[in-house]
C-alpha cells in the first residue's frame, strides 16, 4: 500500500510537471496602430523570446521615427502590447484570445517558435485576425489552409537541403550516404522531411536515421554508429542542445565525417562555447548580416547589425532580424491596402512582393515566404583560435570558400 501511494504521488507529480507559450496584435486608436504580441519572456524560450521582442521594438522605433505608416492620407505610428506567454502553448492560445476578444486587437505579430505559433494560429484564424509571424518555420503551419497566417521566414524543410545538394555536387554529382539525427519536435522533424526529399531527389541513401529525445544531452550512440558506418554527411538538428551536444561529443570521440551540417549554431553561440572544436561545422541560417539585401529603413544587413548592437549590446541573431522584417511587411501591407479593414489588409499581405534588409518577401498561398533562400555558413577559425561564421552557400553571397572534406581529427 505504501509503495502504491509513493508511486501514485510520484506519477501525479510528474504528470503535472510535464503538462506545460507566445503571440502579437493591433487595433487603431488615435494615430496609433496598436499591435499585440505574446512573447516568451520567461520560460525555456525566453532567450529567443527576448531576441524576437528586441527585433520587433527596433523596427517599431525605426518605422515611427522615419514617418510612420500612411493610411488614408493620415500618418499612424506602431505600438505593441506584449504579454508573456511563459513559453507555454496553452498560455499563448489564451493570450491570443484575450488580445483579440478583450483588448480588441485586430492585427497580430507572431510568437517565438513553431510550437507556439501552432497554438496561436487557430485562434487568429477563427477571428480573421491577420498575423505576420517571424519565428515559426514548421511546414505543418503552411499546410493547414490558414488564410490569415504569413511567415517572413523560409519553411523548416528548406533549412538543410542545400547542404545535401552541395554534398552531392562536391561528390561529382554522385549520390551521397547520409547519417542524420533529429530531435522529436515539430521543427526538427520538418528539417528531417526536407532531407528525405533532398535524398530522394539526388538518389542519396540515408544510412543512419536517429531521433533524439527532448531532454537530449548525450548522442554518443549515434556517433558510435557514424564512426563505424562512415557516412559522407552528418546532419544534426535539435535546437541549441543538439548543436552543443553534437560538437562536444564529435570532438571528444574524434568522429571524422567529411561534412557536418546543423541548425541553431548561432543561437547556440557554437564558436564561443566550443571554440576550435566547432570549426568546419556547416550551419543553416535564415539570415546573415553579410547578405546584400536592401531596404529604406535599415539599409542593409551590416547597418542593421551595427544599429542593433548599438541599441541592445549584442550581435543580432537571425531571430531578431526576421522579427524586424515582420513589421516592415505590416507597414507595406497597411499602406497598399490603404485601410484597416482586416480582409483588405489580409489581401494586401497575400500580395506582398518586396525586398527588406532580411531578404525578399513573397508569400505562397499557404503563407510561407517562397522568395528567400536559406544560407549556409561555415565556422572558420584562425590560428589564434578566434572563430567566425562565414557564408559559403548560396554562391551569390558566399564570403568564403567551403572547406570540404573536413580535415581528420588526427590531422588537425
Amino acid at each position: 500500500m505504501r509503495l502504491n501511494k509513493i508511486i501514485l504521488s510520484f506519477v501525479s507529480a510528474l504528470v503535472i510537471l510535464f503538462s506545460t507559450s507566445v503571440a502579437s496584435f493591433a487595433k487603431v486608436v488615435g494615430d496609433k496602430i496598436i499591435l499585440g504580441a505574446a512573447i516568451s519572456l520567461t520560460g525555456k524560450y525566453s532567450s529567443n523570446g527576448v531576441h524576437t521582442q528586441n527585433g520587433y521594438n527596433m523596427a517599431v522605433d525605426r518605422i515611427n521615427s522615419m514617418g510612420g505608416v500612411k493610411v488614408g492620407g493620415k500618418t499612424y505610428k506602431f505600438d505593441i502590447i506584449y504579454y508573456d506567454d511563459e513559453s507555454n502553448p496553452k498560455r499563448a492560445a489564451q493570450l491570443a484570445e484575450r488580445l483579440i476578444s478583450q483588448d480588441g486587437v485586430e492585427f497580430m505579430l507572431g510568437p517565438y517558435s513553431s510550437g507556439l505559433t501552432k497554438a496561436i494560429a487557430p485562434v487568429t484564424e477563427k477571428y480573421g485576425v491577420p498575423m505576420v509571424e517571424a519565428n515559426g518555420a514548421s511546414r505543418s503551419l503552411f499546410t493547414k489552409g490558414y488564410k490569415y497566417l504569413f511567415a517572413v521566414l523560409a519553411p523548416a524543410n528548406l533549412y538543410l537541403d542545400v547542404a545535401i545538394e552541395t554534398a552531392v555536387e562536391l561528390n561529382g554529382g554522385k549520390p551521397v550516404r547520409i547519417a542524420q539525427a533529429f530531435e522529436q519536435d515539430a521543427f526538427s522533424q520538418d528539417v528531417r522531411l526536407g532531407i528525405l526529399d533532398a535524398a530522394e531527389r539526388t538518389g542519396s541513401k540515408i544510412i543512419i536515421d536517429d531521433k533524439l529525445p527532448k531532454e537530449l544531452n548525450d548522442m554518443a550512440a549515434t556517433l558510435v554508429k557514424v564512426k563505424q558506418m562512415k557516412p559522407d554527411v552528418l546532419v544534426v538538428s535539435g535546437h541549441t542542445k543538439g548543436a552543443l551536444t553534437a560538437i562536444r561529443q564529435i570532438a571528444e570521440m574524434k568522429v571524422d565525417v567529411p561534412m557536418l551540417a546543423m541548425t541553431h549554431c548561432d543561437a547556440a553561440k557554437l564558436s564561443k562555447q566550443h571554440g576550435k572544436n566547432s570549426q568546419y561545422a556547416l550551419c543553416a541560417s535564415q539570415w546573415h548580416k553579410s547578405l546584400t539585401y536592401k531596404d529604406d529603413f535599415f539599409k542593409d544587413g551590416m547597418t542593421y547589425a551595427a544599429d542593433f548592437e548599438k541599441e541592445f549590446g549584442y550581435d543580432p541573431p537571425y531571430q531578431s532580424a526576421e522579427s524586424s522584417a515582420a513589421l516592415l511587411v505590416f507597414k507595406d501591407a497597411f499602406e497598399r491596402a490603404n485601410s484597416f479593414d482586416q480582409k483588405k489588409v489580409r489581401d494586401a499581405l497575400a500580395a506582398t512582393n518586396m525586398q527588406t534588409f532580411y531578404g525578399n518577401i513573397k508569400f505562397a498561398p499557404g503563407g510561407q515566404n517562397v522568395d528567400k533562400p536559406m544560407v549556409l555558413f561555415q565556422v572558420m577559425c584562425d590560428a589564434s583560435g578566434s572563430c567566425e561564421n562565414k557564408v559559403v552557400a548560396p554562391l551569390k553571397w558566399a564570403s568564403a570558400k567551403l572547406i570540404h572534406p573536413i580535415p581528420k581529427w588526427s590531422e588537425r
Partner: protein
Amino acid sequence: MDFLVFQYPMITLQACLDGILLGVLFALIAYGMALQWGVMNIINIAQGDLVILGGYIAYFMYLYGIHPAWGVIVAPVIMYFVGIAIYKLVINKVVDRDLFISILATFGISILFMQLMNFAFGADVVLANSGYGTTMLFDNNVVLPNSKIFSAFISIVFAVCLVIYMKKSKLGRAIRATAQNARAAKILGVDTEKVYAATFGINAALCGVAGALISITFTIHPYMGLPYTIRSFMIVIVAGLGNLPGVAMSGMGLGVFEEFADYILGTEFRIGSVFLLLVLILVYRRFKLSRKREYLK
C-alpha cells in the same frame, strides 16, 4: 529496432563502458536520494534541479576562467548550505508529515528552482569545457572521453568518502541511528533536527558534485533536472534504501541498460525505456510480494 550493438563486439564494449561510466554518476545522485529518503522519509522531486544548480556553479567558475573541475570542490560546499537553507525554510515543516505532502513541497521547490535558474542564468543551454581529451582503446575502436572517466572517478571518490564518514564520524552514526528509529535516537540524545538538516545538506552537496561533473561531461539547462530525478528514483526503488552497494550496482545497471536501449530502440526511447523498466520492476516486486503473502497464509 537496430541490433548493430550486438553485431560488432567493439560497439558492445563501447556501450558497456559508456553505460558504466554514466551509471556511476547516476548512482552518486541516487545515493543522496536514498540517504534522505531513508532518514527523513522524503522523496525529493527537486533532486535533479539541485544537480543542475550545482552544474551552474561549475559553469560560472569556468566562465570566470577557473577550471570547471574545481567545481567538484566548490559546488558541494555551496550546495550544502543551499540544502540547509531549503531544509530550514520548507522541509522541516513537512518532515514528519504524509509522504504526499513532502512530494508536493519538493515538487514546488523544483518549479521554483527551475524558474529562478531560468531567470538568473537565462534559458540558454550551456556547458563547461574541461579540455581533458580522449582515451582511445583497441585501435581507436573504443573511445572514452576523459571527462567521463574523470566524472566516474570523482563519483567513486565521493561515494567512498561518504561511506567512511557515515561509519566513523559522530554525525554519520547519528544519521544512521535516526534512519533506524528516529524516536529512539531522540530519546538517546540525538538531536534529530540537526541530523535532518545535515542529511538534506549532504544530499544537496552530492547533487552539487554530480552537477559539476555533468556540466563538464554533458550540457546543462534550467529545465533539464527532471530526468535526473527520475533516474535516481528508479535506482533507489531497485536497490532499496540504505543499500549502498545496491545503489552502485543498480546505477551502473541502469547506465548500461540506457546505452543498450539507445542503440537498439533509438535515442528517442532512452528515457522512455527507463520508465518502462521502472514499471516492470514494480510489477515484478508486487508479484513477488503477493507470492510471499500466499505462502504466509
